[in-house]
Symmetry: C2
Subunit: 362 residues, 2 copies
């Protein structure tokens, strides 16, 4: 199949550029104490996860949902999975316990409620579930307060039958996207002091803290260079997007939204068939790849309205590519990724964990 | 199944409120020359489309993509389908021609290129494809210029073997969302003059213009009240969202995103498990239903971070519901809708046309 034959809208991966990203990240962690735990949520695509693990330097995979972990296990990917998110709600803990029978699973916990729920499911299934205590390092989302609160929770996890305390995590999501490294680095280091001092406190109380997990694409070589951090949860580096491209990172944009021009009603504008259902806009509108002077004005459900310089020759039937601003929710809109080498489609990779798999078959 | 047993995040439809919306819209069009052509893109859910058609006053269904039309036909919904969008790109015209063998299909065209592409596919499949000329009424997206340009294209469509000129359409998408009806109504009427004068010009040249299609939820009783408009393409009215709720419309919000509270790290904030992959934010953050003083601060991939009044008792494991700002891309994130009556799940409706069905099975 040729690139020109792909029905649009569709996501296209430059397979060679993606592999270079994977290799660059693996090269960074080679020879270091800290390793990588690639975040599966970024792409939800087993074929990509396999390539990330194959490059080595990985402690396992990170997932954001139980459903993602279920897909990883169902695909036969044998590695340790960290669900770096609180698992709360009907059926969730039981699903984790079922996974723990088949694979090595570690789950983030930040409350007594979450710990008790998991422990009950673990005991019912006669398994042990690994736990990392999720420490709030400054981002207002999840995570228990650093210091005594976090250590107390870790202590109770360590004493709870069914749970196995594995370590601690903290995600500095509020600093990973800061454009200027001179600003980003000290702020990341400061947030990580909250995690590392909490780890030290816990170890001082005799608690086992083997995993110290943190970081993202924007801080892989800042957080990843700190003594005591054992792994980095980076995801976006593998395909990149315009938001991360604004940072000074050695990774290439390898994912674009392929679209067909539907209409060129006026010289200064065209409409293409990639809209809100093909490309997420939470980090801003996508950029137009390789068309000088072109810019996306707005997306509607099935359209990108694009401003064009008058001399641009784009006409109905022509193809364009858009660089998304945020790959995670963009990939989640599609059922497959088309891996290309130049004009050739070399593979079609299912986005197997797209959506919420518990809804399928209902 | 009870509401409390639904795995989250999930979309919940108040089935009775939805039916009241359907009945109110049907009541408006009863006894009028103008009818409704409900837009399937809003929900992509055959079970909802069936209820819309059952209420009567419909000329058929509107779709935005060939894939949506394929799902409607595959589901055995026998009605005329208007693909109110340009169909351009590899395989698309052939798919329309295949549908035209099994169902009544009308497609929007705004260029010679689009007309020629459809005509070739129609002749190859030995079918005739209905066409409406898409007239630009002011929204910068698709549509040929009103007046002579549009009429000339209509004339060529009428002469083209394989194509059957059925009429004209124009979507006033730039005015449907204006909050104040006193502002919205005259602007909608003015945009519609462009369509109606073009229709008159075409008829004066002897061209058959039976369908004059326009309008949306915000203008159903403005555009729909104009002499000469034969149908309104409203979609959002059936479930509504916070964007349309700001208008003075007689429809109820009937769709919410059900979420579970994961964490309450501080009294002033909680995190719930509905993020960017469960709820679109292109029209703004969702609103929190029924929790006084609560507001969404931001969504990340799998989290809503919500500001709470200190006295609010929400804790991990509790449920909340979010009102989305834009239903179309929100529903497209899910595989099913849970139809509820109070605390009972009365049905689970597949979002059968979610995503791009041409990607499935690849």
């Amino acid at each position: 199949m040729k690139l020109s034959e792909i029905p649009t809208p569709a996501l296209v991966v430059d397979a060679a550029a993606m592999q270079r990203n994977i290799d660059r990240m693996a090269a960074y962690f080679a020879g270091r104490a800290c390793k990588l735990r690639p975040h599966f949520k970024a792409h939800k695509t087993p074929e990509i996860a396999r390539r990330q693990l194959l490059a080595g330097q990985c402690t396992g995979l990170t997932c954001a949902t139980v459903g993602e972990a279920e897909v990883v296990v169902a695909e036969g990917i044998e590695t340790e999975i960290l669900i770096a998110n609180e698992v709360v709600g009907p059926g969730k803990a039981a699903r984790v316990a079922a996974l723990a029978r088949r694979s090595r699973i570690v789950v983030a916990v930040d409350s007594e409620y979450g710990a008790a729920d998991l422990a009950e499911a673990a005991r019912a299934a006669a398994v042990e579930i690994g736990v990392v205590v999720d420490v709030n390092v400054g981002m207002p989302r999840c995570g228990i307060a650093p210091g005594e609160d976090a250590v107390a929770l870790a202590g109770r996890v360590a004493e709870t039958p069914g749970l196995l305390l594995r370590g601690m995590m903290g995600y500095e999501g509020h600093v990973v996207g800061i454009a200027d490294r001179a600003d980003r680095a000290p702020r990341a280091e400061k947030t990580m002091e909250r995690l590392l001092s909490t780890v030290e406190l816990a170890r001082g109380r005799g608690l086992p803290v083997d995993i110290v997990s943190a970081g993202g694409t924007g801080t892989y070589d800042i957080t990843g260079a700190l003594e005591g951090i054992t792994e980095v949860q980076a995801g976006s580096y593998v395909l990149m997007d315009t938001a991360y491209a604004r940072l000074d990172l050695p990774f290439e944009q390898a994912l674009s939204v392929l679209a067909t021009v539907l209409s060129r009603p006026r010289p200064e504008q065209c409409a293409a068939d990639a809209g809100l259902k093909a490309c997420a806009v939470d980090h801003g509108n996508p950029e137009v790849k390789g068309v000088p002077g072109a810019s996306v004005l707005f997306l509607s459900d099935e359209h990108a309205t694009i401003a064009l310089p008058g001399e641009c020759v784009l006409a109905p039937g022509d193809r364009i590519e858009l660089w998304p601003s945020h790959i995670d929710p963009t990939i989640n809109l599609h059922d497959v990724l088309y891996a290309i080498d130049g004009d050739e489609v070399v593979a079609t990779w299912p986005v197997a964990a797209r959506g919420y798999i518990e809804q399928r078959g209902r």
